[in-house]
Symmetry: C2
Subunit: 551 residues, 2 copies
């Protein structure tokens, strides 16, 4: 017989959970002590809980199965909430193990006592405080089952210290997987008839429908029915690049998304939600589907979106259709003073085979999709829940899941500072992550937002709230201070050479890309600039759109 912690670890391993991203405290010491009984469990220490939860998110997106976290009571969970929010919104499976005081100790309301279940509910569909050592392994099985879904979810198991240290627990075997059902035949028929009618119709792919099998099915349907493919604005995991059907991401800015969706009569959603504005703005619409456009949802959450899409492909008679595949095409090597656009160009120029891009570049990454569309096949992990501070931790998790694939994290300066501690874990675990920090010395996106909310008459005090100068952040020193080799680039030549070196050398690297704000000096000309970012936009269409949205 084992103590609770030992049996729990064994049950997690049996259920396929083989990595634990940790930031433990006293109440988790028996779990920590038990790690030496569980060689199959990789324990990855982080210096901050937001790194642990973001890493668990990034890991699960790439591994296709959950990692666990190990967090210290309610406050540790609190520190991890933002990235669990991103996991929740991306339907990513995560199993949180949150240590708690011993059951008999809670009544004393000691310093660290707080209501963990309430905090957990904010992000978890499944929450339980384990009540006894004997029950613990059954709780673990249920937590993992809930996390795996379908759909993927955040499950939080609260582990009182005495349940963990108690003796007499027995590990349990893996739970049986739960296959998701296909969508209803009648629904598939109805949507097929919409697609076959043609007209202005688009398919919006999200979730698991942005991976190769679904993309190929969608590409065949698109070729057969002449419909357009879109990808949701912040995909959980998007397989793209040369050789795959191309789907254009819905733009972050509602003004842009409206341009993309203008004139649509039918929109078919596959594991995606109808596009809405990220924020509300005075006098602007929140719901971005054009008036009069019918929305058809192929599969509900928990249904088999990919299988349903493949079935739809057969029903529309597209099974033998030839999908339009993205041709291989890289931009040239950029030259001259570095800009965010040139960073994206260099990425497109150099991206290695089979890379994983973690995209938290905000404004600076505007041109990234365009410049990488024809690059070798790669995965893009995006900011599913909009809670910044996700990029560097998700890169940690992706690199742990895929040690043989290069990981490129593209992160804004403001965003990077929420969870900059992730760099230390990259160094400690010798992860193959290249982190590019776009240092434009500002919360660049908020300068646009200040304008968009109609608060453009902002004075110097307001502007200073978006300004990251005085002092400027030195990311080279920050990275080196955590053991990550780093360099700074002011020119495109410097950046491209540094990126080339970083991809060629194992272990983590950081490149600080000193760039001007994308929109500095572009005031009121933001939209025409952004329109260029719409990938593969035919020139006449681009010109027409520019006329439509230019002030």
């Amino acid at each position: 017989m084992a103590n609770g912690a030992q049996a729990m670890l064994r049950t997690l391993i049996n259920a396929g959970v083989e990595v634990c991203f940790t930031n433990p405290g006293t109440s988790e010491m028996h779990f920590v002590a038990a790690l030496d009984t569980a060689p199959e469990m990789r324990a990855v220490l982080t210096l901050f809980e937001g790194v642990a939860t973001g890493a668990a998110d990034g890991y699960a997106r790439m591994a296709g199965k959950p990692a666990s976290t190990l967090l210290h009571l309610g406050c540790g969970l609190g520190n991890g909430l933002a990235n669990l929010h991103n996991a929740r919104k991306g339907r990513v499976p995560v199993v949180n193990i949150v240590g708690d005081h011993a059951t008999y100790h809670t009544k004393f309301d000691a310093q660290l006592q707080s209501d963990i279940e309430t905090a957990a509910r904010n992000v978890s569909t499944w929450v339980r405080t384990s009540q006894s050592t004997q029950q613990l392994c059954q709780d673990v099985v249920e937590a993992v089952t809930a996390a795996k879904g379908p759909p993927g979810q955040v499950a939080t198991l609260i582990l009182p210290a005495d349940v963990s240290w108690g003796e007499g627990a027995a590990a349990l075997p893996a739970p049986a997987p739960v296959p998701p059902p296909l969508a209803d035949d009648a629904l598939i028929e109805r949507i097929a008839s919409v697609l076959k009618k043609g007209g202005k119709t688009a398919i919006l792919l999200g979730g698991r429908a942005l991976r190769e099998p679904a993309l190929l099915a969608a590409g065949r349907i698109a070729a057969q029915c002449g419909v357009k493919l879109y990808a949701e604005v912040f995909p959980t995991r998007f397989e793209r690049g040369a050789g795959l059907p191309h789907a254009e991401r819905i733009a972050y800015l509602a003004e842009m998304a409206s341009v993309q969706l203008a004139g649509l009569e039918n929109l078919v959603l596959v594991d995606a939600r109808a596009p809405v504005s990220f924020f509300a703005y005075p006098g602007k619409k929140s719901y971005l589907v054009p008036d009069g456009c019918s929305v058809h949802e192929l599969a509900l959450p928990g249904e088999d979106a990919v299988g349903s899409l493949q079935r739809l492909c057969q029903v529309v008679g597209a099974a033998q259709a030839t999908p339009l595949l993205q041709p291989e095409k890289r931009p040239g090597r950029p030259r001259g003073k570095l800009t965010a656009e040139k960073v994206c160009k260099a990425v497109g120029h150099l991206l290695p085979d089979n890379a994983i891009i973690v995209d938290e570049a905000q404004t600076s990454g505007t041109m990234l999709p365009m410049f990488t569309a024809g690059a070798p096949r790669h995965d893009v992990l995006a900011l599913t829940g909009g809670a910044i501070g996700q990029g560097l931790p998700a890169a940690v998790g992706a690199a742990v899941a895929c040690p043989d694939r290069p990981v490129l994290a593209l992160v804004g300066d403001g965003s990077s500072m929420y969870t900059i501690q992730a760099l230390w874990t990259m160094a400690r675990e010798k992860l193959n992550v290249v982190s590019v920090i776009f240092n434009n010395h500002s919360y660049g996106i908020l300068n646009i937002e200040l304008e968009r909310v109609g608060a453009e008459k902002a004075g110097p005090k307001a502007r200073s709230q978006l300004d990251l100068n005085g002092p400027g952040l030195d990311f080279v020193q920050l990275a080196q201070g955590m053991g990550v080799p780093a360099t700074r680039a002011h020119t495109a030549e410097e950046f491209t050479a540094a990126l080339e070196r970083a991809f060629a050398t194992p272990g983590p690297h950081l490149i600080e890309a000193v760039v001007p704000s994308v929109f500095s000096g572009l005031k009121l000309r933001v939209l025409p600039y952004l329109l260029r970012s719409l990938e593969n936009l035919p020139q006449p269409v681009a010109r027409a759109l520019k006329r439509k949205v230019a002030p």
Copy 2:
């Protein structure tokens, strides 16, 4: 007439809230834009919400009134929860302003949508989502009133974007202060009779009872009745040093606290709670008051603890008694290889008049109370809720509240990394904060805890979870990367000289103190070592106690 944000800012200022620690996003842009209409409101930008909330905590402890925070939706609040937990446990007033989506936008469940109220309830006794621009200023008045208490509380006002940008709001005047009532006369008489009987009695001071007026009253009672004074383990704000009555802090380790409290027959609580163990440990007691000791609570939360103590002083006939005051006494200048103990000694040797010490030094700070007991008068702000990552942010807030006082933050290496971003705000605001990071390359306290929970047979995998080597953190580079001048000390001479220079030079400074773990090599001899930290312990007592607890 003004828009909601403008009237809100004016109402906050009217109510005495003059500082806002911010980390805004799009939904807060109207609040940000309104800052230029409110020159009396100081807006202090932070790079991470945990810095904003910790700074608000530190500010209010020193200013005696709340600051506000400005946080971005549920995820921003989530990032700030840990330090709000510390404020809650310390009964510190904080007014959170949490921006939310426009009221009509929430139904679309956009990416950043989450249940903010639930997250807020975890730390706030007062939570409200403002429903209209017209109601907003009344909501602000109620939030500030709730925060001010008595007792001080965390109040969270959720501000939908359209409530903020709506027009037609009118600012409101300051609410009337609510004076706390004195304790019941009969209770004071009862406690007076306990004290007058003498015997083994102690007074445990906490909360507001650790400030000069209460300390003097308690000192007079102690002199008159021959009782001992204790301070709670993690005080919100503790005024101490030469010229004040001395109160010994209850030790963090339950084993130590039991030694301090052994044999007590009566314990009078003044704005403090009966001591309990920080964590539970197998086979050890959680409740630390000795069996048979009667506990007497002088004032309930919300009652006037200080006034009640002063009344008690009169009733026991101690109004004219002469309290025993701590004599001025500094340790000598330390020499040789640097240790945590020598850092504490150097602090005692050099501490300037009227300093504010933020103490998050964990194991490395064990000897700090002893070495600073006779230093010039100073305030100590401690980790009230046990959620680490509080030290550097609280130092930011204390320095904003008291620009003319030197602030010394003593922080463990592990703790510092939770909210290391605070250094940037210190640089940006040119705050007079000296941050000392004890770099022992480990979560030092967890090495003890691993032993205490009975998990001492931990293997290398467990030990590696407490180890902050590989790579070691370079705090000099981290500080410089955020614009804070920094130096590293390996010897006591280097450290003392650096500390002297830092106190003499305005603006922020960081000193990395490279020290061995306090308990490395001390395994199983932890308690005798710790006993030395009990301040002013007479030698025969110390010897007796050592016999009692030594293994």
